[in-house]
Protein backbone atom coordinates (compact mmCIF):
# COMPACT_ATOMS: atom_id res chain seq x y z
CA UNK A 1 0.00 0.00 0.00
CA UNK A 2 1.29 3.42 -0.91
CA UNK A 3 1.27 5.61 2.14
CA UNK A 4 -0.23 9.05 1.85
CA UNK A 5 1.68 11.85 3.55
CA UNK A 6 0.23 15.26 4.30
CA UNK A 7 2.32 18.38 3.76
CA UNK A 8 3.36 18.66 7.40
CA UNK A 9 4.38 14.98 7.43
CA UNK A 10 7.07 15.55 4.77
CA UNK A 11 10.00 15.35 7.24
CA UNK A 12 8.60 11.98 8.39
CA UNK A 13 8.27 10.83 4.78
CA UNK A 14 11.89 11.74 4.03
CA UNK A 15 13.19 9.73 6.96
CA UNK A 16 10.96 6.77 6.16
CA UNK A 17 12.17 6.77 2.56
CA UNK A 18 15.73 6.77 3.84
CA UNK A 19 14.98 3.79 6.06
CA UNK A 20 13.46 1.92 3.11
CA UNK A 21 16.51 2.71 1.03
CA UNK A 22 18.87 1.43 3.72
CA UNK A 23 16.82 -1.73 4.15
CA UNK A 24 17.04 -2.29 0.41
CA UNK A 25 20.81 -1.80 0.37
CA UNK A 26 21.46 -4.08 3.31
CA UNK A 27 19.11 -6.76 2.02
CA UNK A 28 21.09 -9.85 0.95
CA UNK A 29 24.41 -8.03 1.26
CA UNK A 30 27.16 -8.17 3.83
CA UNK A 31 26.75 -4.56 4.91
CA UNK A 32 24.93 -4.48 8.20
CA UNK A 33 22.96 -1.27 8.63
CA UNK A 34 20.54 -2.53 11.27
CA UNK A 35 22.06 -0.29 13.91
CA UNK A 36 21.65 2.75 11.68
CA UNK A 37 18.15 1.71 10.75
CA UNK A 38 17.14 1.34 14.36
CA UNK A 39 18.51 4.78 15.11
CA UNK A 40 16.54 6.29 12.25
CA UNK A 41 13.37 4.48 13.28
CA UNK A 42 13.68 5.95 16.73
CA UNK A 43 14.18 9.34 15.13
CA UNK A 44 11.01 8.92 13.07
CA UNK A 45 9.05 7.97 16.16
CA UNK A 46 10.27 11.01 18.09
CA UNK A 47 9.71 13.30 15.13
CA UNK A 48 6.16 12.01 14.71
CA UNK A 49 5.38 12.52 18.39
CA UNK A 50 6.86 16.01 18.15
CA UNK A 51 4.89 17.00 15.03
CA UNK A 52 1.60 15.54 16.21
CA UNK A 53 1.80 17.08 19.66
CA UNK A 54 1.51 20.57 18.22
CA UNK A 55 -0.67 20.33 15.13
CA UNK A 56 -2.34 23.55 14.05
CA UNK A 57 -6.15 23.62 13.64
CA UNK A 58 -5.71 23.54 9.86
CA UNK A 59 -3.35 20.56 10.05
CA UNK A 60 -5.90 18.80 12.24
CA UNK A 61 -8.59 19.58 9.67
CA UNK A 62 -6.44 17.97 6.96
CA UNK A 63 -5.75 14.99 9.22
CA UNK A 64 -9.47 14.62 9.94
CA UNK A 65 -9.95 14.38 6.16
CA UNK A 66 -6.89 12.18 5.59
CA UNK A 67 -7.61 9.68 2.79
CA UNK A 68 -6.29 6.84 4.96
CA UNK A 69 -8.30 7.85 8.02
CA UNK A 70 -10.63 5.06 9.18
CA UNK A 71 -14.31 5.57 8.38
CA UNK A 72 -17.46 4.41 10.16
CA UNK A 73 -17.51 0.97 8.50
CA UNK A 74 -13.85 0.37 9.39
CA UNK A 75 -14.70 0.89 13.04
CA UNK A 76 -17.94 -1.08 12.83
CA UNK A 77 -16.00 -4.02 11.42
CA UNK A 78 -13.51 -3.83 14.26
CA UNK A 79 -15.69 -3.04 17.28
CA UNK A 80 -18.95 -4.88 16.59
CA UNK A 81 -20.03 -8.47 16.35
CA UNK A 82 -22.94 -9.58 14.16
CA UNK A 83 -23.41 -6.22 12.42
CA UNK A 84 -26.59 -6.30 10.37
CA UNK A 85 -26.93 -3.23 8.19
CA UNK A 86 -30.49 -1.99 7.70
CA UNK A 87 -31.43 0.15 4.76
CA UNK A 88 -33.70 2.96 3.68
CA UNK A 89 -35.88 5.70 5.10
CA UNK A 90 -39.22 4.10 4.08
CA UNK A 91 -39.99 7.34 2.25
CA UNK A 92 -37.81 7.77 -0.78
CA UNK A 93 -34.41 6.08 -0.89
CA UNK A 94 -31.48 4.44 0.83
CA UNK A 95 -28.83 7.10 1.39
CA UNK A 96 -25.37 5.53 1.08
CA UNK A 97 -23.74 8.44 2.93
CA UNK A 98 -25.35 7.28 6.17
CA UNK A 99 -25.20 3.69 7.34
CA UNK A 100 -26.82 2.07 10.30
CA UNK A 101 -27.89 -1.21 11.73
CA UNK A 102 -28.04 -3.67 14.58
CA UNK A 103 -24.92 -5.01 16.24
CA UNK A 104 -23.28 -6.09 19.45
CA UNK A 105 -20.35 -4.33 21.06
CA UNK A 106 -18.53 -6.38 23.70
CA UNK A 107 -21.55 -8.68 23.70
CA UNK A 108 -24.12 -5.92 24.33
CA UNK A 109 -26.74 -5.22 21.64
CA UNK A 110 -26.77 -1.67 20.25
CA UNK A 111 -28.01 0.28 17.27
CA UNK A 112 -25.03 1.84 15.52
CA UNK A 113 -25.26 4.62 12.94
CA UNK A 114 -22.72 6.79 11.18
CA UNK A 115 -21.81 8.92 8.22
CA UNK A 116 -19.92 6.92 5.61
CA UNK A 117 -17.27 8.27 3.27
CA UNK A 118 -15.86 6.14 0.47
CA UNK A 119 -12.34 5.06 -0.33
CA UNK A 120 -11.32 5.30 -4.00
CA UNK A 121 -13.06 7.38 -6.65
CA UNK A 122 -15.94 4.99 -7.38
CA UNK A 123 -16.77 4.35 -3.75
CA UNK A 124 -16.38 8.02 -2.86
CA UNK A 125 -18.99 8.93 -5.45
CA UNK A 126 -21.29 6.10 -4.33
CA UNK A 127 -21.08 7.47 -0.78
CA UNK A 128 -21.50 11.03 -2.07
CA UNK A 129 -18.31 11.98 -0.18
CA UNK A 130 -20.14 11.38 3.08
CA UNK A 131 -22.66 14.17 2.43
CA UNK A 132 -26.18 12.97 3.28
CA UNK A 133 -29.44 13.73 1.54
CA UNK A 134 -32.59 14.10 3.70
CA UNK A 135 -33.11 10.33 3.34
CA UNK A 136 -29.91 9.70 5.28
CA UNK A 137 -31.15 11.64 8.27
CA UNK A 138 -34.58 10.05 8.03
CA UNK A 139 -33.07 6.58 7.91
CA UNK A 140 -30.97 7.43 10.96
CA UNK A 141 -34.03 8.65 12.86
CA UNK A 142 -36.02 5.57 11.87
CA UNK A 143 -33.28 3.35 13.29
CA UNK A 144 -32.96 5.46 16.42
CA UNK A 145 -36.69 5.19 17.06
CA UNK A 146 -36.35 1.45 16.60
CA UNK A 147 -33.58 1.50 19.20
CA UNK A 148 -35.90 3.31 21.60
CA UNK A 149 -38.71 0.81 20.99
CA UNK A 150 -36.47 -2.18 21.71
CA UNK A 151 -34.57 -0.44 24.52
CA UNK A 152 -31.22 -0.56 22.77
CA UNK A 153 -28.58 2.13 23.30
CA UNK A 154 -27.58 4.21 20.28
CA UNK A 155 -24.00 4.75 19.11
CA UNK A 156 -23.44 7.45 16.47
CA UNK A 157 -20.18 7.95 14.59
CA UNK A 158 -19.85 11.39 12.98
CA UNK A 159 -17.75 12.03 9.89
CA UNK A 160 -19.13 14.34 7.21
CA UNK A 161 -18.17 17.52 5.36
CA UNK A 162 -21.84 18.49 5.74
CA UNK A 163 -25.31 17.87 4.37
CA UNK A 164 -25.35 17.72 0.56
CA UNK A 165 -26.17 21.05 -1.13
CA UNK A 166 -28.24 20.04 -4.17
CA UNK A 167 -31.61 20.46 -5.83
CA UNK A 168 -33.06 17.11 -4.70
CA UNK A 169 -32.20 17.62 -1.02
CA UNK A 170 -33.89 21.04 -1.06
CA UNK A 171 -36.99 19.64 -2.79
CA UNK A 172 -37.25 16.90 -0.20
CA UNK A 173 -36.63 19.02 2.90
CA UNK A 174 -32.98 18.87 3.94
CA UNK A 175 -33.68 21.48 6.64
CA UNK A 176 -36.76 19.69 7.90
CA UNK A 177 -34.91 16.35 8.04
CA UNK A 178 -32.08 17.78 10.15
CA UNK A 179 -34.46 19.76 12.38
CA UNK A 180 -36.59 16.68 12.92
CA UNK A 181 -33.58 14.64 14.04
CA UNK A 182 -32.51 17.34 16.48
CA UNK A 183 -36.01 17.54 17.91
CA UNK A 184 -36.69 13.82 18.21
CA UNK A 185 -33.21 12.85 19.40
CA UNK A 186 -33.62 15.22 22.33
CA UNK A 187 -36.56 13.10 23.56
CA UNK A 188 -35.47 9.52 22.80
CA UNK A 189 -35.88 7.38 25.89
CA UNK A 190 -32.69 5.39 25.42
CA UNK A 191 -28.99 6.23 25.92
CA UNK A 192 -27.26 8.00 23.01
CA UNK A 193 -23.47 8.21 22.75
CA UNK A 194 -21.96 10.10 19.82
CA UNK A 195 -18.34 10.20 18.69
CA UNK A 196 -16.86 12.57 16.12
CA UNK A 197 -14.34 10.34 14.33
CA UNK A 198 -13.23 12.71 11.56
CA UNK A 199 -14.99 15.73 10.15
CA UNK A 200 -17.87 17.26 12.09
CA UNK A 201 -19.33 19.40 9.32
CA UNK A 202 -22.02 21.77 10.55
CA UNK A 203 -25.73 20.87 10.64
CA UNK A 204 -25.04 17.71 8.67
CA UNK A 205 -22.95 16.45 11.57
CA UNK A 206 -25.15 17.88 14.31
CA UNK A 207 -28.11 15.84 13.03
CA UNK A 208 -26.41 12.71 14.38
CA UNK A 209 -24.78 14.17 17.45
CA UNK A 210 -27.49 15.16 19.93
CA UNK A 211 -26.53 12.79 22.73
CA UNK A 212 -26.13 12.04 26.42
CA UNK A 213 -22.38 12.01 25.91
CA UNK A 214 -20.48 13.54 23.02
CA UNK A 215 -16.85 12.57 22.43
CA UNK A 216 -14.30 13.51 19.81
CA UNK A 217 -11.27 11.62 18.58
CA UNK A 218 -8.09 13.51 19.40
CA UNK A 219 -7.50 14.83 15.88
CA UNK A 220 -11.08 15.27 14.73
CA UNK A 221 -12.71 18.66 14.11
CA UNK A 222 -16.24 20.00 14.57
CA UNK A 223 -17.39 23.33 13.21
CA UNK A 224 -20.34 25.46 12.17
CA UNK A 225 -18.69 26.05 8.78
CA UNK A 226 -15.63 24.65 6.99
CA UNK A 227 -12.43 26.75 7.12
CA UNK A 228 -12.77 27.14 3.33
CA UNK A 229 -16.33 28.43 3.65
CA UNK A 230 -15.36 30.76 6.47
CA UNK A 231 -12.37 32.13 4.54
CA UNK A 232 -14.56 32.69 1.48
CA UNK A 233 -16.99 34.78 3.51
CA UNK A 234 -14.26 36.78 5.22
CA UNK A 235 -11.65 37.29 2.52
CA UNK A 236 -12.97 36.36 -0.91
CA UNK A 237 -12.88 40.00 -1.94
CA UNK A 238 -9.09 39.96 -1.80
CA UNK A 239 -8.91 37.43 -4.64
CA UNK A 240 -8.06 33.72 -4.71
CA UNK A 241 -7.88 31.93 -1.40
CA UNK A 242 -4.95 29.77 -0.34
CA UNK A 243 -3.86 27.41 2.44
CA UNK A 244 -2.78 30.37 4.54
CA UNK A 245 -6.33 31.79 4.47
CA UNK A 246 -7.79 28.40 5.41
CA UNK A 247 -5.26 28.15 8.18
CA UNK A 248 -6.27 31.54 9.56
CA UNK A 249 -9.96 30.70 9.26
CA UNK A 250 -9.54 27.37 11.06
CA UNK A 251 -7.76 29.16 13.89
CA UNK A 252 -10.61 31.67 14.18
CA UNK A 253 -13.26 28.96 14.23
CA UNK A 254 -11.81 27.06 17.23
CA UNK A 255 -12.80 23.72 15.79
CA UNK A 256 -10.41 21.22 17.38
CA UNK A 257 -11.39 18.58 19.93
CA UNK A 258 -9.22 20.42 22.43
CA UNK A 259 -11.12 23.69 21.85
CA UNK A 260 -14.49 21.99 22.22
CA UNK A 261 -13.47 20.29 25.44
CA UNK A 262 -12.34 23.65 26.80
CA UNK A 263 -15.75 25.08 25.84
CA UNK A 264 -17.44 22.10 27.56
CA UNK A 265 -19.30 21.32 24.33
CA UNK A 266 -17.91 17.78 24.37
CA UNK A 267 -17.46 15.49 27.35
CA UNK A 268 -14.03 14.10 26.59
CA UNK A 269 -11.38 13.40 23.98
CA UNK A 270 -10.68 9.83 22.87
CA UNK A 271 -6.93 9.45 22.24
CA UNK A 272 -5.46 8.47 18.87
CA UNK A 273 -2.17 6.64 18.35
CA UNK A 274 0.88 8.72 17.44
CA UNK A 275 0.54 9.86 13.84
CA UNK A 276 -3.25 9.70 13.85
CA UNK A 277 -6.05 7.11 13.85
CA UNK A 278 -4.92 5.50 10.59
CA UNK A 279 -1.50 4.59 12.00
CA UNK A 280 -3.12 1.97 14.22
CA UNK A 281 -6.76 1.45 13.38
CA UNK A 282 -7.18 -1.47 15.80
CA UNK A 283 -5.91 0.58 18.71
CA UNK A 284 -8.16 3.53 17.83
CA UNK A 285 -11.14 1.19 17.49
CA UNK A 286 -10.40 -0.27 20.92
CA UNK A 287 -10.17 3.21 22.41
CA UNK A 288 -13.58 4.03 20.94
CA UNK A 289 -15.34 0.84 21.97
CA UNK A 290 -13.90 0.93 25.50
CA UNK A 291 -15.07 4.49 26.04
CA UNK A 292 -18.46 4.03 24.41
CA UNK A 293 -19.35 0.85 26.30
CA UNK A 294 -18.12 2.22 29.62
CA UNK A 295 -20.38 5.24 29.04
CA UNK A 296 -23.38 3.12 28.06
CA UNK A 297 -22.97 1.04 31.22
CA UNK A 298 -23.06 4.24 33.23
CA UNK A 299 -26.06 5.68 31.36
CA UNK A 300 -28.03 2.45 31.70
CA UNK A 301 -28.38 3.05 35.42
CA UNK A 302 -30.66 6.03 34.76
CA UNK A 303 -34.39 5.76 34.12
CA UNK A 304 -35.47 6.85 30.61
CA UNK A 305 -37.20 9.88 32.11
CA UNK A 306 -34.10 10.97 33.96
CA UNK A 307 -31.98 10.42 30.86
CA UNK A 308 -34.16 12.72 28.74
CA UNK A 309 -34.31 15.34 31.46
CA UNK A 310 -30.52 15.37 31.84
CA UNK A 311 -30.06 15.53 28.07
CA UNK A 312 -32.25 18.63 27.98
CA UNK A 313 -30.32 20.24 30.82
CA UNK A 314 -27.02 19.53 29.07
CA UNK A 315 -28.27 21.38 25.99
CA UNK A 316 -29.74 24.22 27.97
CA UNK A 317 -26.33 25.02 29.44
CA UNK A 318 -24.65 25.54 26.04
CA UNK A 319 -24.41 29.19 25.12
CA UNK A 320 -22.20 32.16 25.67
CA UNK A 321 -23.87 35.45 26.52
CA UNK A 322 -24.25 38.10 29.20
CA UNK A 323 -27.49 39.32 30.70
CA UNK A 324 -28.28 42.71 32.13
CA UNK A 325 -30.99 42.82 34.70
Amino acid sequence: MIKCYLEFEKPIEELELKIEEMKRISDGKDVNLSGEIRKLEKKVKDLRTEIFSKLTPWQKTLLARHPDRPYTLDYINLITEEFLELHGDRRFADDKAVIGGLAKIKGAPVVIIGHQKGRGTKERIRRNFGQPHPEGYRKALRLMEMAEKFKRPIVNLIDTPGAYPGIGPEERGQGEAIASNLMHMSRLRTPIVSVVIGEGGSGGALALSVADRLYMLEHSVYSVISPEGCAAILWRKNGELNAEDFSRASESLKLTAQDLLRFKIIDDIIPEPSGGAHMDVEQTARNISDRVMQTIEELKTRTPGKLVEERYRRLKKIGSFVEEA
Binding site: G166, G175, S186, R187, S223, V224, R248, S252, V322
Partner: protein, 277 residues
Protein backbone atom coordinates in the same frame (compact mmCIF):
# COMPACT_ATOMS: atom_id res chain seq x y z
CA UNK B 1 -34.19 30.39 -27.40
CA UNK B 2 -30.51 30.76 -26.72
CA UNK B 3 -30.59 34.35 -27.85
CA UNK B 4 -33.52 35.11 -25.59
CA UNK B 5 -31.80 33.58 -22.57
CA UNK B 6 -28.68 35.60 -23.20
CA UNK B 7 -30.46 38.89 -23.53
CA UNK B 8 -32.45 38.16 -20.40
CA UNK B 9 -29.20 37.55 -18.54
CA UNK B 10 -27.79 40.81 -19.82
CA UNK B 11 -30.79 42.70 -18.67
CA UNK B 12 -30.50 41.53 -15.07
CA UNK B 13 -26.74 41.99 -14.98
CA UNK B 14 -26.92 45.59 -16.11
CA UNK B 15 -26.48 48.03 -13.26
CA UNK B 16 -29.49 50.32 -13.29
CA UNK B 17 -28.75 53.56 -11.54
CA UNK B 18 -31.59 54.26 -9.19
CA UNK B 19 -31.94 57.62 -7.44
CA UNK B 20 -31.55 57.15 -3.70
CA UNK B 21 -34.72 57.04 -1.66
CA UNK B 22 -37.44 57.70 -4.20
CA UNK B 23 -37.30 54.50 -6.19
CA UNK B 24 -36.71 50.89 -5.20
CA UNK B 25 -35.69 47.93 -7.32
CA UNK B 26 -37.69 44.80 -6.47
CA UNK B 27 -35.37 41.96 -5.34
CA UNK B 28 -37.63 39.46 -7.03
CA UNK B 29 -38.93 40.84 -10.36
CA UNK B 30 -36.23 43.53 -10.68
CA UNK B 31 -38.82 46.17 -11.58
CA UNK B 32 -38.06 49.69 -10.45
CA UNK B 33 -40.98 50.95 -8.39
CA UNK B 34 -41.90 54.20 -6.70
CA UNK B 35 -41.01 53.71 -3.01
CA UNK B 36 -44.15 55.36 -1.68
CA UNK B 37 -46.23 52.88 -3.62
CA UNK B 38 -44.45 49.99 -1.90
CA UNK B 39 -44.68 51.56 1.56
CA UNK B 40 -48.38 52.14 1.13
CA UNK B 41 -48.74 48.46 0.22
CA UNK B 42 -47.16 47.08 3.49
CA UNK B 43 -43.83 46.85 1.66
CA UNK B 44 -45.16 44.43 -0.92
CA UNK B 45 -44.19 44.71 -4.60
CA UNK B 46 -47.30 45.72 -6.57
CA UNK B 47 -45.86 44.03 -9.67
CA UNK B 48 -44.93 40.53 -8.45
CA UNK B 49 -46.25 40.36 -4.87
CA UNK B 50 -42.72 39.93 -3.46
CA UNK B 51 -42.75 40.82 0.22
CA UNK B 52 -39.86 43.13 1.01
CA UNK B 53 -37.95 42.54 4.22
CA UNK B 54 -39.37 44.53 7.08
CA UNK B 55 -38.01 45.19 10.54
CA UNK B 56 -38.98 43.23 13.62
CA UNK B 57 -40.71 46.33 14.98
CA UNK B 58 -42.78 46.74 11.83
CA UNK B 59 -43.78 43.10 12.08
CA UNK B 60 -44.96 43.48 15.65
CA UNK B 61 -47.28 46.26 14.51
CA UNK B 62 -48.54 44.09 11.72
CA UNK B 63 -49.09 40.88 13.68
CA UNK B 64 -50.30 41.59 17.19
CA UNK B 65 -52.94 43.71 18.89
CA UNK B 66 -51.92 47.33 19.24
CA UNK B 67 -50.01 47.98 22.43
CA UNK B 68 -50.11 44.35 23.53
CA UNK B 69 -46.43 43.55 22.94
CA UNK B 70 -44.21 43.42 26.02
CA UNK B 71 -40.62 42.51 25.31
CA UNK B 72 -38.96 39.78 27.38
CA UNK B 73 -35.28 38.81 27.72
CA UNK B 74 -34.16 42.14 26.29
CA UNK B 75 -31.03 42.22 28.46
CA UNK B 76 -29.33 39.34 26.65
CA UNK B 77 -26.16 40.26 24.76
CA UNK B 78 -23.52 38.30 22.86
CA UNK B 79 -20.04 38.03 24.17
CA UNK B 80 -17.18 36.78 22.06
CA UNK B 81 -16.50 33.18 23.13
CA UNK B 82 -14.12 32.46 20.23
CA UNK B 83 -12.30 35.79 20.37
CA UNK B 84 -13.12 35.66 16.68
CA UNK B 85 -10.61 37.17 14.28
CA UNK B 86 -12.09 39.06 11.36
CA UNK B 87 -11.30 42.32 9.57
CA UNK B 88 -12.99 43.99 12.51
CA UNK B 89 -13.48 42.31 15.89
CA UNK B 90 -16.77 40.56 16.55
CA UNK B 91 -17.45 43.01 19.39
CA UNK B 92 -17.08 45.94 16.99
CA UNK B 93 -19.25 44.20 14.43
CA UNK B 94 -21.97 43.74 17.04
CA UNK B 95 -21.74 47.40 17.96
CA UNK B 96 -21.88 48.43 14.31
CA UNK B 97 -25.00 46.30 13.80
CA UNK B 98 -26.67 47.71 16.91
CA UNK B 99 -26.21 51.20 15.57
CA UNK B 100 -27.24 50.30 12.04
CA UNK B 101 -30.38 48.34 12.98
CA UNK B 102 -31.40 50.00 16.23
CA UNK B 103 -31.68 46.49 17.69
CA UNK B 104 -29.75 44.74 20.42
CA UNK B 105 -29.73 41.42 18.60
CA UNK B 106 -31.10 39.55 15.58
CA UNK B 107 -34.32 38.60 17.37
CA UNK B 108 -36.88 40.24 19.62
CA UNK B 109 -39.13 38.15 21.86
CA UNK B 110 -42.10 39.04 23.97
CA UNK B 111 -45.60 38.42 25.19
CA UNK B 112 -48.43 39.76 23.10
CA UNK B 113 -52.01 39.16 22.06
CA UNK B 114 -53.61 38.35 18.74
CA UNK B 115 -57.29 39.31 18.64
CA UNK B 116 -57.29 39.14 22.41
CA UNK B 117 -55.60 35.74 22.70
CA UNK B 118 -52.25 35.69 24.54
CA UNK B 119 -49.22 34.37 22.69
CA UNK B 120 -45.43 34.31 22.93
CA UNK B 121 -43.74 35.83 19.92
CA UNK B 122 -40.18 35.69 18.56
CA UNK B 123 -39.34 37.85 15.55
CA UNK B 124 -36.03 37.77 13.72
CA UNK B 125 -34.63 40.81 11.98
CA UNK B 126 -32.40 40.35 8.95
CA UNK B 127 -30.94 43.81 9.41
CA UNK B 128 -28.91 42.63 12.42
CA UNK B 129 -26.00 40.54 11.09
CA UNK B 130 -28.18 38.88 8.49
CA UNK B 131 -30.55 37.60 11.14
CA UNK B 132 -27.91 35.08 12.15
CA UNK B 133 -28.49 32.79 15.13
CA UNK B 134 -25.84 32.87 17.81
CA UNK B 135 -26.12 32.20 21.53
CA UNK B 136 -28.48 35.12 22.20
CA UNK B 137 -30.99 34.26 19.48
CA UNK B 138 -30.82 30.62 20.57
CA UNK B 139 -31.41 31.59 24.19
CA UNK B 140 -34.32 33.86 23.28
CA UNK B 141 -36.04 31.14 21.26
CA UNK B 142 -35.43 28.57 23.96
CA UNK B 143 -36.77 30.83 26.72
CA UNK B 144 -39.74 31.84 24.57
CA UNK B 145 -40.61 28.18 24.06
CA UNK B 146 -40.27 27.55 27.79
CA UNK B 147 -42.46 30.58 28.56
CA UNK B 148 -45.13 29.36 26.14
CA UNK B 149 -44.95 25.95 27.77
CA UNK B 150 -45.30 27.36 31.25
CA UNK B 151 -48.19 29.67 30.37
CA UNK B 152 -49.79 27.05 28.12
CA UNK B 153 -50.17 29.54 25.27
CA UNK B 154 -49.14 29.35 21.59
CA UNK B 155 -45.62 30.14 20.42
CA UNK B 156 -45.23 32.07 17.18
CA UNK B 157 -41.88 32.66 15.52
CA UNK B 158 -41.09 34.74 12.45
CA UNK B 159 -37.82 33.70 10.81
CA UNK B 160 -35.62 35.80 8.57
CA UNK B 161 -32.07 34.58 8.73
CA UNK B 162 -28.99 33.56 6.81
CA UNK B 163 -28.45 30.75 9.33
CA UNK B 164 -26.07 30.11 12.20
CA UNK B 165 -23.72 32.94 13.18
CA UNK B 166 -20.20 32.09 12.06
CA UNK B 167 -18.53 34.38 14.58
CA UNK B 168 -19.73 32.22 17.48
CA UNK B 169 -18.62 29.01 15.80
CA UNK B 170 -19.65 25.80 17.55
CA UNK B 171 -21.79 27.74 20.05
CA UNK B 172 -24.00 28.87 17.16
CA UNK B 173 -24.24 25.36 15.75
CA UNK B 174 -25.32 24.02 19.13
CA UNK B 175 -28.18 26.55 19.29
CA UNK B 176 -29.91 24.51 16.60
CA UNK B 177 -30.01 21.51 18.95
CA UNK B 178 -31.05 23.62 21.94
CA UNK B 179 -34.01 25.32 20.30
CA UNK B 180 -35.16 22.07 18.69
CA UNK B 181 -35.12 20.39 22.11
CA UNK B 182 -37.23 23.22 23.53
CA UNK B 183 -39.73 22.91 20.66
CA UNK B 184 -39.86 19.15 21.28
CA UNK B 185 -41.12 19.81 24.80
CA UNK B 186 -43.78 22.17 23.45
CA UNK B 187 -45.08 19.53 21.07
CA UNK B 188 -44.99 16.86 23.76
CA UNK B 189 -47.17 18.91 26.06
CA UNK B 190 -49.74 19.84 23.43
CA UNK B 191 -48.79 23.48 22.91
CA UNK B 192 -49.45 25.11 19.56
CA UNK B 193 -46.40 26.32 17.65
CA UNK B 194 -46.83 28.37 14.46
CA UNK B 195 -43.71 29.09 12.40
CA UNK B 196 -43.77 31.99 9.93
CA UNK B 197 -41.03 32.05 7.30
CA UNK B 198 -40.05 35.40 5.83
CA UNK B 199 -37.47 36.24 3.21
CA UNK B 200 -34.86 34.81 3.56
CA UNK B 201 -34.79 31.77 5.84
CA UNK B 202 -31.74 29.53 5.51
CA UNK B 203 -29.19 27.23 7.12
CA UNK B 204 -29.32 26.59 10.82
CA UNK B 205 -32.64 28.37 11.28
CA UNK B 206 -34.37 26.30 8.59
CA UNK B 207 -32.71 23.19 10.02
CA UNK B 208 -34.10 23.86 13.49
CA UNK B 209 -37.10 25.74 14.87
CA UNK B 210 -38.31 27.24 11.56
CA UNK B 211 -39.28 23.84 10.13
CA UNK B 212 -40.71 22.42 13.36
CA UNK B 213 -44.03 24.26 13.52
CA UNK B 214 -47.39 22.51 13.81
CA UNK B 215 -48.31 24.91 11.07
CA UNK B 216 -45.67 26.49 8.83
CA UNK B 217 -46.59 29.60 6.83
CA UNK B 218 -44.40 31.49 4.37
CA UNK B 219 -44.73 34.93 2.85
CA UNK B 220 -45.09 34.97 -0.95
CA UNK B 221 -41.92 34.71 -3.03
CA UNK B 222 -39.68 34.38 0.08
CA UNK B 223 -36.45 32.46 -0.42
CA UNK B 224 -36.34 29.50 1.95
CA UNK B 225 -33.90 26.61 2.04
CA UNK B 226 -31.12 24.81 3.83
CA UNK B 227 -28.16 25.41 1.52
CA UNK B 228 -27.82 28.80 -0.14
CA UNK B 229 -28.51 28.93 -3.90
CA UNK B 230 -24.95 30.04 -4.70
CA UNK B 231 -23.43 27.12 -2.81
CA UNK B 232 -25.75 24.72 -4.61
CA UNK B 233 -24.94 26.23 -8.00
CA UNK B 234 -21.21 25.91 -7.34
CA UNK B 235 -21.64 22.30 -6.22
CA UNK B 236 -23.86 20.97 -9.01
CA UNK B 237 -22.48 23.30 -11.71
CA UNK B 238 -25.84 23.81 -13.36
CA UNK B 239 -28.46 26.53 -13.37
CA UNK B 240 -31.13 26.30 -10.73
CA UNK B 241 -34.75 25.92 -11.79
CA UNK B 242 -36.97 28.98 -11.95
CA UNK B 243 -38.65 29.64 -8.59
CA UNK B 244 -36.16 27.34 -6.81
CA UNK B 245 -36.40 27.75 -3.01
CA UNK B 246 -39.23 30.27 -3.29
CA UNK B 247 -42.14 29.91 -0.86
CA UNK B 248 -44.32 28.57 -3.69
CA UNK B 249 -41.66 25.93 -4.49
CA UNK B 250 -41.74 24.72 -0.89
CA UNK B 251 -45.52 24.63 -0.90
CA UNK B 252 -45.48 22.62 -4.12
CA UNK B 253 -43.03 20.13 -2.60
CA UNK B 254 -45.07 19.67 0.54
CA UNK B 255 -42.66 21.38 2.90
CA UNK B 256 -44.97 24.11 4.24
CA UNK B 257 -48.69 24.42 4.93
CA UNK B 258 -49.50 27.82 3.51
CA UNK B 259 -48.27 30.79 1.55
CA UNK B 260 -50.06 33.81 2.96
CA UNK B 261 -49.93 37.49 2.06
CA UNK B 262 -48.61 39.81 4.73
CA UNK B 263 -51.99 41.52 4.82
CA UNK B 264 -53.74 38.28 5.73
CA UNK B 265 -51.17 36.88 8.20
CA UNK B 266 -52.73 38.10 11.43
CA UNK B 267 -56.17 36.89 10.43
CA UNK B 268 -54.84 33.47 9.45
CA UNK B 269 -52.84 33.04 12.65
CA UNK B 270 -55.89 34.04 14.65
CA UNK B 271 -57.98 31.49 12.78
CA UNK B 272 -55.46 28.70 13.45
CA UNK B 273 -55.34 29.53 17.15
CA UNK B 274 -59.14 29.59 17.20
CA UNK B 275 -59.39 26.19 15.48
CA UNK B 276 -56.65 24.42 17.44
CA UNK B 277 -56.75 25.75 20.98
Amino acid sequence: MAWFKKSKGLKTDKKVKIPEGLWVKCDSCKEVIYKKEIDKNLRICPKCNYHFRISARERIELLVDEGSFVEIDSGLASNDPLNFKDKISYKDRLEENRKKSGLEEAAISGEAAIEGRPIILVIMDFAFMGGSMGSVVGEKVMRAAEAALEKKIPLITVSSSGGARMQEGIFSLMQMARVSAAIAKLHESGNLYISILADPTFGGVTASFAMLGDVIIAEPRSLIGFAGPRVIEQTIKQQLPEDFQRAEFLLEHGMIDLVIDRKELKKTISQIIELLT
